[in-house]
Assembly symmetry: C2
Amino acid sequence: MPSNNHNAVDFIIDRVKQKAFDEISQFIEPLAHSDKARLIESLPKSYRATIWNEIATESKAETLLELHKEVRRGLIEITDEAELIRALSCMQMDELADIDDDLPLPVVSAMVETLNNQNRQRYNAVKVYPDDVAGGLMDVDATAVRPDISIKAVIRYLRQLRSRTGELPEHLESLFVVDRNNYFIGTVSLSDLISYPSHLSISQISKQNIPAIRSLDSADDVVKTFEANDLLSAPVVDESNKLIGRITVDDVIDYMRDQSEKELLKKEGLDQQADLFAPIIQGSMRRAVWLGINLLTAFSAAWIIGMFDASIEKLVALAVLMPVVASMGGVTGSQTLTIITRGIAVGKIARSNIASITRHELAIASLNAVLWSTVVFLISWGWYQDWELGLVFAMAMFIVIVSGTFAGALIPLILGKLDIDPAIAGGVILTTLTDAIGFFTFLGMATLFII
Amino acid sequence: MPSNNHNAVDFIIDRVKQKAFDEISQFIEPLAHSDKARLIESLPKSYRATIWNEIATESKAETLLELHKEVRRGLIEITDEAELIRALSCMQMDELADIDDDLPLPVVSAMVETLNNQNRQRYNAVKVYPDDVAGGLMDVDATAVRPDISIKAVIRYLRQLRSRTGELPEHLESLFVVDRNNYFIGTVSLSDLISYPSHLSISQISKQNIPAIRSLDSADDVVKTFEANDLLSAPVVDESNKLIGRITVDDVIDYMRDQSEKELLKKEGLDQQADLFAPIIQGSMRRAVWLGINLLTAFSAAWIIGMFDASIEKLVALAVLMPVVASMGGVTGSQTLTIITRGIAVGKIARSNIASITRHELAIASLNAVLWSTVVFLISWGWYQDWELGLVFAMAMFIVIVSGTFAGALIPLILGKLDIDPAIAGGVILTTLTDAIGFFTFLGMATLFII
């Protein structure tokens, strides 16, 4: 039996080739939904339909939720509508709202038809919010109680709910206290509920110190609130402070995971939704944009070099050494860029301390500039036996390291003012600048002092 | 009143200058510990001691826990031992074990002295584990019950615990079921405990499907288990399946946050523990290593250019255009490198599908190679009125884009075999390769066909 996803991919490909479909469905069935999804995404397209057919209808909804958008769409297309409706019928409203953009319209209509009035209202309530605000992360399973009833009465209510419906909301660890108009008052944890004397009233044990999250708060702020207060769940209220839902920590974790993946990919101009096996034309177009931008910046560097072609013709060593200057400027600059961008993102860097941080970065860079300028002076002197060339090389290196650092500190601040994400654009702008500065100072000084 | 960390930094710096220390302590006191820590890390060193003195002794322990290692050490150094011992006396054993490396030995001894026998055993139990395994994430607050007692008896026990000690373990949302020898059997959630009829026995409502985490499991595996099962807490067992502690989801989130920060920084050769205001010499040394490696690779590219200096002397356009070739190869290569490295890290790419993924990446790269080779052919033809040069430029561009992609796919696989983290070394190796290939093919082909 394959023990992890790597072997699982081998196993599935092998069994599909042997047409041993029973073994496939036996293997897939006990897997967690997230593992099923990862397995599907790891398989080349031609294998996906086969494994999808072997997943039981009742597992399909949860598996769809775990898939990346593009892969999900592909599978929805090959599933017939009747089965889709059956598969999705046990989905919660907030989950349905998460994926309904990908579903064929008749399926969505059929699903909404089956909801009762209250649930249809809830579905519409969740559907309103985009994915990157609190409302988009919330579910509508918040359990609310009044402040004036006793612990005993609440426990009785929960027992009735269990015996009537067979289950409680998932991840129930807190109840929310509201007044008769549904205005949010406070929070009661199950652990308090179960451990305080049962004659106490809810108002005696409820806590007001956990802030309610507003439905339009950004998802990033939700993450911060959860982290700062070590929350397991939190109430969500509308603009008028009425309780409309809750966010549980597992949804926060999913969001964090997504963000950290996006963070890594966007630096390369890549799209997180991209399927490993996305159609080739589509995959090419996405990357072509990034390559086009890069070509533009590379040609602007080439244009600067072109201004000094007469100098290079006279002293070819300039052409040999110039990429070294530009490259060192790029590396120091992007170290500072990363530190500053990160510091701003986590709220450690602001207008008031940016000056002292920039000074600190420049001090570090200057030491390195002195060190590596000396090193390259010695190397180039040894290589070309030309101390003048070595001196110009070293001076250019010093200038580009210090100015690259300065640019690395300034770019995220300027982009921030312009509301441009420094994680996407910062690297490209920095490299363009350090290349330009590197080539210009090195070739320019060489032209002035040597040629 | 300052509303966020940015304004808070302003506020503190201003008040320190005015020596308005009372206002500082009033401002700091209500902040969450994580906010206190962030504020300290955002301040230049000279301000830190002042704000640290204004933090109440009983808040110092929690604040220390939230700080990065270096900043924490700096503050511990300036706190006198008696106050440290008072501050740390309310710390939990697992928290003490997290920071005791940074404490002066007499303080650690004094702390351990004050623990009772059971707690000292627990402290030693937690201290054994490194930070990157389950044991290092766990706390020892697991609440255990026997399978044969009734729900009513458990609730009575929890109420007694509350009235005796005034509180329950933090984030208590599940109890763990163990036999008389402390072997782990299963889990009971508080929501089941509170909602099932109280005459049922624990064994009737406990669940066996949530896997116990072994103390030596890697922290990454713990994260996966929490994500796959949407857990709020999980039991930790030793090699013989005895319950020794639990991990709560807030510790998992802290670990994830740390990892994603490390991931971003290590690509630039930076260290996550680094203080924004680390001593300049120390900060320089760390980055110097990375710059040194980069200088080496830049000079190896220069050496390749140097082999063709005669050609460049004859046709300076080569020097002008060559950085464009290398740069485009670097960008396509690093797109593929990022996708493959990421895919391996999340378990989507393995031996069995790497061939099809590499083919897929090469297909995408080839389309882009055709597109951009055509574009650069036209540009260089227009610029230099030399179709031969344009053709060589285009051919070199095609070769470097395709081979850069190939390298981007292969490097993480090879590094994986050698047990080297591709996120650290991958980028440097790739750039070295694409620079070398870019300069060599462009200058080499030009020498063969034009010069």
